[in-house]
Amino acid sequence: MDAYLTLIQLLDSTVRLATPLLLACLAGLYSERAGIFDIGLEGKMLAAAFFSAAVASLTGSVWVGLAAGIGASLALSALHGVASITFRGNQLISGVAINFLAAGMTVLIAQDWFRQGGRTPSLMGGARFEGITLPLADTLEPVPIIGPLYAELISGHSVLVYLAFATVPFTWWLLFRTRFGLRLRAVGENPAAVDTAGVSVVGLRYAAVAICGVLCGIAGAYLSTALQAGFVKDMSAGRGFIALAALIFAKWRPWYALWATLLFGLFGALETRPDVIEAAIGLKVQGQLLGALPYLMTVIILAGFVGKAIPPRAGGEPYVKER
């Protein structure tokens, strides 16, 4: 029973750690499916994390904070759109610039607003997303096996966690069962064909980049108002890049994205519990190895040794109409 409870705890923190990865990964999925590479996921998450924490602490309402976070992320998305769609600039360079812009601006503004060395005050009460206790969780808790599973693992997360998991089937439906989704995927594979059909390539790509901004905004807000209580400098800590790795690992598909981010979330959860791994496989695994594992696995997948990850064909190339 003790081992079972440890497992539940481990999976519980897996879900918590996978949520921002999942949101950012789906964000990247929309953008890259439409042919816009986005290595600025990290920066957008960071900006959203700061603005949602800052505004939540100033207004006392986490929902206003969430809106501000999404707004900040959308603004960076718009910048990425202008650079890579309108001015046909290099999408990768634009992403790098956005990452640095967010890393610098968040600390600069945090210092100007709060004067606490680049962090926001700790969030309390209504300025944070609290866990939601699902119906019957307390009643079911004493039931063996199912009780702890339901009460600990499924119940008790913040609303953003449930939102993130609901986004997976929604994304699948939107991309593979609607006209908008078909066009969005087409614009990432063969924009000229979409253009010939009389649909605006620019409009579709901006729409995809905007959806990406909203999802990154939620991911960032989750970091600072649900996972932790407040913003600290560089708190996204490479999660945007892990999400990017997960996206490749998932071969740009929504359901695979769920499994990939859960797997990477599990690595993150295991990193803090080396005792569990030692008990489970009888070997001492270095924490650094677990930290590097998502990146290593992505490189192996990219190399095509285990299956092949084929990106959208028109990805990274600006669309030029007149030829």
């Binding site: 650079a83 001015f87 990768l92 634009s94 490479g238 490749i248 190895l289 490189v299 990219l302």
Partner: protein, 372 residues
């Protein structure tokens, strides 16, 4: 035919991009309630007003020359090497091994040995993504990003578990022996009767970096290999048609690039810290991107841009010391430089091209139109 004359292409476009970045930076300083003019004055006196300031400016510039050149050579083959950070970390490992385990008789030999080790380690870290790009078609941008993180984990492991002396708490190697100490600018200039600050970290690596700038210029514009790299960068299909092997160009270019990024370690690890610590690179690998973009991938441009960024770094440190402006202002300026000189290049270029076209039409009332 080029729309713009060469001087506009080489000087005007980057200058306007920089101006835009500077204006926005000034607005940012204004927005946080500080005086941009006073800030610039403080930065200039802090970074260039004394030999101490110059010593730090040139120390940072040395780092940025190496990483800037690394990104620049890759750009010539139209490869984007974001992995300079990881390659420089590995270079640091190579330098540490060379300095700790080989009994050097003199610093000159140690420097040569350290350069070779740094270049080998950095090149190795770039060669894997290069091979994956050339042979397996894995996107080099993604793999080099991944390799930055893998390098950080690897270095963490090596420092904590292997190279840390017994009984020491912080994850770092032992101090290098005195014999591998590189002469600082103070020691180099003293025989000539020039007084230079004793405590500034600029050292003989600066000369190596300048030499690297020159050699890279020779390589890119005066050798057959350089021509092949540029040809491949302009058009892969044309290069293939001319008998240039893409695999060979990708591998060679990335190995040179990784070696240059790795060689940064002779400055920050051997020259300054004299031991290997965690995060010794401090983001210099990424600043190389801004430096290469600003320098238009030309070694002379990289040289100038590296000194400018060295000035920004030292000036930014002074700002953080004397005002309430945090050091992160430099990160913002860096982002704006990358944005305007890199991603929004067309925003500056398109209106300029229109102006030049209009001027040319006015000068020649009846132009002969050769191209359709």
């Amino acid at each position: 035919m080029d729309v713009m004359p060469k001087w506009a292409e080489v000087i005007l476009v980057p200058l306007i991009s920089l101006l835009l970045a500077a204006i926005l930076s000034a607005l940012v300083i204004l927005a946080i309630g500080e005086d941009p003019v006073a800030a610039v004055k403080l930065m200039v006196t802090g970074a260039l007003g004394s030999t101490y300031g110059w010593g730090y400016t040139l120390y940072y510039a040395t780092n940025f020359m190496f990483t800037g050149l690394a990104v620049a050579i890759a750009f010539h083959a139209r490869l984007f090497n974001i992995g300079g950070e990881g390659q420089a970390m590995l270079g640091g490992l190579g330098v540490a091994l060379a300095c700790l385990y080989i009994p050097w008789p003199h610093w000159t030999l140690a420097l040569l040995g350290a350069i070779v080790m740094a270049a080998l380690f950095g090149a190795f870290w770039a060669a894997i993504p290069a091979w994956l790009q050339a042979k397996r078609g894995s996107h080099i941008v993604i793999t080099t990003i991944m390799f930055n993180f893998i390098a950080a984990s690897l270095l963490n492991y090596v420092l904590v578990n292997l190279l840390r002396p017994k009984g020491q708490m912080d994850p770092a190697t032992a101090r290098f022996p005195d014999v591998v100490h590189l002469p600082t600018l103070h020691e180099l200039l003293a025989p000539f009767g020039i007084a230079f600050s004793k405590s500034a970290p600029a050292n003989v690596s600066l000369l190596v970096a300048v030499l690297a700038c020159f050699l890279l210029w020779v390589l890119i514009w005066r050798t057959r290999l350089g021509y092949e790299i540029r040809a491949y960068g302009h058009s892969e299909s044309a290069a293939k048609y001319a008998g240039i092997s893409p695999t060979r160009i990708i591998m060679i270019t990335m190995i040179i690039s990784g070696a240059l990024a790795g060689m940064m370690a002779i400055n920050n690890v051997m020259g300054e810290a004299e031991r290997l610590v965690l995060n010794s690179t401090e983001g210099a690998g990424f600043i190389g991107i801004a430096v290469a973009l600003m320098g238009r991938s030309h070694p002379l441009g990289v040289f100038i841009a590296a000194i400018l960024f060295g000035f920004l770094y030292q000036g930014g440190a002074e700002l953080a010391l004397w005002t309430s402006i945090p050091r992160e202002l430099i990160v913002v300026i860096q982002a704006l430089v990358i944005l305007f000189t890199g991603a929004l290049d067309n925003m500056v270029r398109m209106p300029l091209e229109k102006i030049f076209l209009a001027r040319r039409r006015r000068q020649a009332p009846k132009p002969e139109r050769k191209e359709a």
